[in-house]
Each structure stands twice: as structure tokens, then as C-alpha cells.
């Protein structure tokens, strides 16, 4: 069997004397969506932040295709970084309010791809189309966009980096039911087309049951069970 794209082993985190979680272990295969369910305050977001390197856990390991990112050299980690992405509940925080949507969308490409202007624009347009954005949206500033439109821009921006793994932290909890369905279905489509894996963090079990391959339950600082939802992973 090939290595899982992500494996979290015995992860532990404390802030001072406050233990948030201990011995959290799970793995995610290529093209798989693992749900992470838990009450608010149970540490879901902290786990997500550890995976993308925004927090440093107090114990355990995080392996990306076998390599532990916690004792990786800076250079090696920097190379890996664009492949592991996170989207938040309040996506507007990831966009620059002074830039129009399209510039926001292609900004990471500018930084990481080394593409020329023409190619950059073309790829940006393709990504916009892939995520269901219309030209009129691309010409607006973030403040002029709805929550669903912003979440699409953020997804397009992230997909620009061809990530292997995305931590999606409550990506739709601020959205309407109808827009939530659109965004979750869009994420599934992107997964089918690119093989990207997700850790989908949510406190909504109905949502998780509908889109995940498996669901990990976080309770009392540890993963108490992992439920298999009958759904094939397309590799």
C-alpha cells in the first residue's frame, strides 16, 4: 500500500498547564476526505493549524508522505509548505482587502510559479472557471463579494498551488444552506479532478456524513473512534 498523504501520530498540545488534546492519531489517503468532528473548544482548529505549521504541537509527529514535518529542515519545509493548505471559517481573513478578487487569486501563483504575465492570467482564468466564478466577481474587491463568492476565490487561490492536502476548518458554517451545498459539491469536484485530500473540520455531523469517506471523533482530548462511511475513494 502506498504511504498515506498525511499521518498524525500521538499528537499532543498544551497551552501552559491547559491540555487541549493528547495522543491524537489518524491518517488520510490520497483523494480521501477525513471528517474531524468535535464540540466547540475541543481542539479541532488547533489540530488543523499544527498540520499546516501555524502552531507547534507539544508532542507527537505529523508525517507528510512519510516525512515528519516537525523535525524537518527549514528549506525542506518551505518546499513542502505550498502543498499543504488551510481554509478558514472566515475566509475573508485570507484575502487582501486592497486587491481585487482576480489579483488576490493569482497572487500565490506570482510568488511560487515563476510564470510570465500571459500564462499567469490564463491560468488564473482557468481556476476562476473551475471554481464557478464569473468575470464580474473577479473585478470586485473582497468587501463587495458575498461569503460564498469569497470562499470560491479562496479555493481557487489555493488550487493554484496544486496542493496535495487541504485542511478545511468549518468552511461553510457561515454560509447559507444553498451556498453551503454549492461549496461542498465544488470541493468534491476538485477532489475528483486533482486527487487532493481534505481534513474537513466541522461540528455539523449531517454535513460530514454527506461528504466524508471517514469521520474521526474528537472528544475529551483524544480521537475516540473513526467511522467508515461507505463511499469509495477515487484515486
Amino acid at each position: 500500500m502506498s504511504l498515506p498523504i498525511l499521518a498524525v501520530n500521538e499528537l499532543a498540545m498544551s497551552f501552559g498547564t491547559l491540555e487541549v488534546f493528547r495522543s491524537v492519531s489518524f491518517s488520510v489517503a490520497r483523494g480521501e476526505t477525513l471528517g474531524l468532528f468535535g464540540k466547540s473548544g475541543s481542539g479541532k482548529t488547533t489540530i488543523g493549524k499544527c498540520i499546516v505549521g501555524l502552531e507547534r504541537p507539544t508532542g507527537g509527529e505529523i508525517r507528510v508522505q512519510g516525512a515528519n514535518i516537525l523535525n524537518m529542515g527549514k528549506k525542506e519545509f518551505r518546499k513542502l509548505r505550498p502543498k499543504i493548505q488551510i481554509i478558514f471559517q472566515h475566509p475573508e481573513t485570507s484575502l487582501d482587502p486592497r486587491m481585487k478578487a482576480f489579483e488576490n487569486l493569482i497572487e500565490p501563483l506570482k510568488l511560487h510559479s515563476g510564470l510570465k504575465q500571459d500564462a499567469l492570467l490564463k491560468w488564473g482564468e482557468e481556476l476562476a472557471e473551475l471554481t464557478g466564478l464569473r468575470p464580474e466577481h473577479l473585478a470586485r474587491y473582497p468587501i463587495q463579494l458575498s461569503g460564498g463568492e469569497i470562499q470560491r476565490i479562496v479555493l481557487a487561490r489555493i488550487m493554484a498551488l496544486s496542493p496535495d492536502f487541504i485542511v478545511a476548518d468549518e468552511p461553510t458554517s457561515m454560509l447559507d444552506v444553498s451556498v453551503q451545498a454549492q461549496i461542498l459539491r465544488l470541493m468534491q469536484k476538485l477532489q475528483r479532478e486533482t486527487g487532493v485530500s481534505y481534513l474537513l473540520i466541522s461540528h455539523d455531523l449531517e454535513v460530514l456524513r454527506k461528504v466524508c469517506h471517514r469521520i474521526a471523533y474528537l472528544d475529551n482530548g483524544t480521537i475516540t473512534s473513526i467511522e467508515n462511511i461507505k463511499r469509495d475513494v477515487k484515486r
Binding site: 466547540s40 464569473r134 464580474e136 460564498g148 444553498s178 453551503q180 451545498a181 461540528h203 449531517e206
Partner: protein
Amino acid sequence: MSLLEIKDLSVEFSARENTVKAVSHVFFKVREGETLGLIGESGSGKSVIGLALLRLLPANANVSGTVLFQGQDLFSLRPSELRKIRGKRISLMPQNPAGALNPVLKNRLQIEEVFEERGIDKKEGMKKSLRLMKKLLLRDPEKLCDLYPHQLSGGMRQRLIACMSLSFEPELMIADEPTKGLDPEAKEGAVELFTKIKNDYGKTMLLITHDLDLALEVCDRIAVMYAGEIVELDKASKVLNAPSHPYTKGLVRAQPRNGLVPLSGQSPSRISLPEGCFFHERCRYSNIECFRKHPEMKNHNGGWIRCHFQSLQ
């Protein structure tokens, strides 16, 4: 008698060379003791209606129509008369409860400040609020008063604001998106809270929400909004369990438990609305008439629907 009656309400915002049609020809009545829900996706105009009837919209808003509160026309009141109604006889629980509280003031001061502002004795007001807090499922209200807003959970904050609004004994309560962003436990708490406000206090409410579960539990009737218009209005159970309008059907199907089926496309631009039915680009049932003619609100099985095909099943 209706406590609130809205007739032909339209709101446009002028922004440079463009006009945004936020609300078009909305009408409904809210009876004494009734809870009317306004549902529909964000941007459909729900909040603007709430703000319009209290005359809280910014200066670039162009409002037309009539709003009668106990027979009194709110749009023709002088500012001094309006102040006697706003926040007292009609109270608004705003869309973002976190923003409604001052982060650097302890909760007790927040509450006192509100009374002071409205010219009511602080001590009296405080007493009333504490009594309400106990009744509205807040344990240990005294202790809670000594905390800062950020030390409360989303659900607790919402209750605090509900208590503050209720302590003026308003005849009408408007709550805007009370469950947005709350976790499931707090959402259940909100259902309990609003049920209590409704049953124990007999309040008349306008509940603005896109939380279909909350709407079904708490509302007597529901108005569904799309692109600034009401497209369906009927008993809550009818609207959500057996919707008639194609858009309402789509909303219900998008719920995770009903299949998480997305509606195709997006709502139209409000600067240039399409001809014919505003929903036709996304409607599974649309036909030639829908492109040509804008549907009017029509009576349908005791409710109202804005669709050329009233007999859709």
C-alpha cells in the same frame, strides 16, 4: 388586528452610476402574537427589510412603500416620535451579536448603559434584566454581569442581548440571523430561547434567518425571499415540508439531510435584474413564459406564491 403591516416596500441603494435593487414590492402582515420568518439566501434583502422598517438605513437608500405599526405609519413619524418606538416598542436583535456589545465594558455596564441611553432608571432596568436572565435560561446572572462579552460563548451572548431587548417590553421583536455561526448545541439553545420568548412572553416576532430548522421550529408563517422579492408565503410547516415555489424546493433540497443538492448558478445581479422571473436562469421548471413575463404574487392554497405555475408539485 395586525401589529405590523408592510405594503409595497421597495428599497434601492444608489451607488455612483448604478442602482442596487435590494427589496422590491414586499408586502406582509404580522399578527399580534405571531412569529413570521423571513428566509432566503444572504443578499436576498432580509436585513434591509428589518432596517428599513426602523428607518435605520444609510442615506444612500431610497425607500418607498408603507409600514404600519399598530396602524401608525412609521415612515411619516417625526424623529422624536420614532425614537419612542425604536428600541422600546420595537426592538432589533442585530445580525452580529458580538458587534452589539462593547468589548471593553463588563456586561453589567453594557446593560446599564442601554437603559441610561433610553432614559430609563438604571437600577430598575438592571433588576428587570436580572429577572429576565434567570427566566431565560442564564444561570448565575450576577456572576455573568462581572464578565466581559468575550468571556461568554456565542449562545450566552445571544441570550444576554435577548434579555436586554426584552427588558423594554417591546411589542415587536426583530431578530436578525440569531444562529449564524453558532455550533449545534448553541443552535438548539436558540430554538429553546425563541420558543420561550414566543410562548411564555407571547411576543410578536419577525425572525430573519437562513437557518431552516430554527424557522420550522419557531415560526408560524414563513416568507421566502429571492433577489429582493417574496416568492412564497405560507404556514411554516407547509413552506418547509411541502414547498410550492421552485426556489423554496431548491433550498430545502440543499439541506444536508435532504441530499445536499446545490442549486445551479447564482442569484442575479441586483443592478440589472433579468427580464421575466428573477429565478428563471436557475429554475428546473422554467419555460418560455418565465423569460418574458415577471410573475405576480398570487393566492395559492391559502398562501401566496410568485410563479407562473401555481400547481407545481
